[in-house]
Amino acid sequence: MPVSISHLLGLEDVSAQDIGTILDTAETFKEVLERPIPKVPTLRGTTVLNLFYEPSTRTRISFELAEKRLTADTINFSKATSSVSKGEVLRDTIRNIEAMKIDMIVVRHSAAGVPLFLTQCSDAAVINAGDGKHEHPTQALLDMLSLRQKFGSLKGLKVAIVGDILHSRVAGSNIHGLLTMGAEVMLCGPKTLIPPHIHDLGVSVSYQIDQALEWADAVNVLRIQLERQKSGLFPSIREYHAQIRRDAPPYRTTEKEITIMHPGPINRGVELDSDVADSDASIILYQVTNGVAVRMAVLYLLANPEGKVE
């Protein structure tokens, strides 16, 4: 089944049907990844540009792997080794690359809205691989796929997102995607790391980790960055660790098992302790595997908007 979108800029305006199609398609690609030769010729002749203006390891490798598994031609661009470091503006960069006939662009940028901006100066299908604090839709899709595999359905599922919501594009996309699919979302973290007016998006907020864990079926723990503390948003990493990390008591003493997720990379001993991150309740590594399948699905569906695949 085709999707109704021609770009994946975020999940805010993506319908439940399209999300369902992407997740279903990802399941089929997951099967491909388990074959002895995990490669299909689906995107042969399609050229994908990985346009990474921000450092990235996981997302970039995941996208590249997805492209290679689909037999797409890939071009990699990184800010450090490009003319951008000499002051070339984004619009010129993309127009020049466009002139070389690119079919799809996977973009990561520190500024919100850049993927949308690219659709205005290029004919290629654009996939957002993270734009500033705005959205990171493929991460949310892989989170949702992982949850769906674990729980069977997202409808009615209670998901707590814990940590630095204010700076998190992962949280942004997860909120939109999960709510669209019928899940409930609670945000938890210090008040200074929760964006203002977030209630208006349809989520609940708690500043107490115990309360969030009591409520949740699954908890998606976000990475905390040291520079946030330096900018005065919370008093110390030590205090953050003491308040948010759950080495254990709440994760372990709660009567139900809480599924642990993390978009990586984990600051072990800060937002999660190792024994929790590596416990049976953790689906963190499943998320990573699902990332490749989800990205294959998105690339495939956007490269074939009419569903015409030979």
Partner: protein, 429 residues
């Protein structure tokens, strides 16, 4: 340039709207050598040039008390000449350029330079001097010198001094010359290098927001300083509901506090930012519909004194970038009258006379400038426009060097025919 000398001309069949005299009449006006010679029904024996102004309103010349002409320093974005051309095309006969130029207007030389550049222009250019040296907010600029060179008000527009003592001294010092302090009210630390209004939209878009309190805490501080000093304060580009309420209460107390509103805050809100259009990025940012309603209420009840465009030209290269990298500001001289007619007059919030008063009479009164009169023997300082016509601002019609406008190709209200001033007449073609 469609500029001609006002030697002997009759503007026929116009509707004279005079917010000074509070009169409205259909009449012809004869102007001879730049002076209004006769008003009334002119007989057919008139020997000069006649211009049919049927459907046009003639008002005393409009003034935009908040513009950026970018000269000196950024002549690629705007110059005194092109800014004046935009002003004329927008129906204005006077502008106040803000001092955030490079070098800033914090010394006599820049004031004199601007006055000299404007000498040959139809538009009156009244420079605003900086409050502090280098607009750094630390040490008072030479306010007396600036005033004597021709500055009519003082502002560090684009920034606010966080030093309350400096602001106190500036208010006291400028009051010796009866010149108002125009404050860009923004607590920069609280604004936190934000790019848009802080609210549900900034959360959705993942862009750092500027809270309403960044504006209102400085307005509240400044009002306290006015209470302390008794000096006149004008709040620039008011954008928040809280700010309107603070100014309203100050006025009720009888404090000499005035304020202006920019037209874009009456037409757009932060909900228009879903497309990340850098031409909708301004400072103060587009606020919420609730704030817009409060501004309209403030306009209707007289809390808002002045409309001013905050005309802020930026080059294409600077604006055609990702939203967060783009500078704040849009051009507004050619669209201001149309947007005010559309948002304020057509909505019934104000009559045409009341709206014109905020673009003609009140700004000049608070700046202690002479207010043009439509009277026999007075210089012809006039704006001519059709308030009922619909107009579309086309890119090719923009007179500014910069084209950073969200109004391009948008249907607006009113069409400017031309302006008269300094013995010259400009007609929009």
């Amino acid at each position: 340039m469609n500029l001609q000398a006002l030697k002997h001309i009759c503007l026929k069949n116009a509707e004279l709207v005079d917010p000074v005299a509070h009169t409205r009449q259909s009449a012809d006006i004869i102007i001879k050598n730049g002076i209004i010679q006769e008003i009334g029904k002119i007989d057919s024996s008139f020997s000069g040039e006649s211009v049919d102004c049927s459907g046009q309103v003639i008002s005393p010349g409009l003034v935009d008390m908040h513009v950026h002409l970018r000269e000196p320093g950024r002549e690629d974005e705007e110059t005194v000449e092109t800014g004046c051309a935009a002003a004329m095309a927008g129906g204005f006969t006077a502008v106040l350029p803000m001092p955030n130029t490079d070098p800033p207007c914090d010394n006599q030389q820049v004031v004199r330079f601007l006055k000299q550049k404007a000498e040959k222009e139809l538009v009156d250019v009244y420079p605003v001097g900086a409050i502090t040296k280098g607009r750094k907010g630390i040490e008072m600029a030479e306010i007396a010198d600036l005033y004597q060179a021709g500055a009519v008000a003082f502002s560090d527009d684009g920034s606010t001094s966080s030093n309350s003592l400096v602001m106190r001294y500036a208010l006291e010092y400028a009051s010796m010359y009866n010149a108002p302090i125009i404050d860009h009210c923004e607590d920069h630390k609280l604004a936190n290098q934000g790019h848009m209004n802080e609210g549900v939209m900034s959360t959705r878009l993942g862009i750092t927001g500027i809270p309403n309190a960044a504006e209102s805490v400085i307005i509240a501080r400044d009002i306290e300083l006015v209470r302390l000093t008794g000096s006149a304060l004008h709040v620039a580009h008011l954008s928040t509901a809280e700010g309107v309420e603070l100014v309203r209460r100050a006025k009720q107390e009888g404090l000499p506090v005035t304020c202006e509103v920019a037209p874009h805050h009456l037409l757009f809100t932060d909900q228009d930012l879903t497309g990340f259009d850098p031409n909708l990025k301004m400072n103060p940012p587009l606020r919420t519909p609730k704030d817009m309603d409060a501004l309209m209420q403030g306009i209707a009840d007289g809390t808002v004194d002045v409309f001013a465009s905050d005309h802020a030209p930026h080059s294409l290269e600077e604006k055609q970038v990702e939203f967060e990298a783009a500078p704040f500001g849009i051009i507004g001289l050619q669209s201001m009258l149309s947007v005010i007619l559309k948002t304020v007059v057509e909505s019934g919030a104000l009559s045409l006379e009341q709206a014109l008063e905020k673009m003609c009479v009140t700004p000049r009164k608070l700046l202690n400038l002479p207010v043009p009169q439509i009277k026999t023997g007075e210089p012809a300082n006039l704006s001519i426009f059709n308030p009922k016509a619909k107009t579309v601002l086309r890119k090719q019609d923009i007179k500014s060097l910069s084209h950073n406008s969200p109004y391009i190709d948008m249907e607006l209200s009113g069409k400017v025919y031309g302006v008269c001033n300094k013995g010259l007449m400009y007609i929009n073609k």
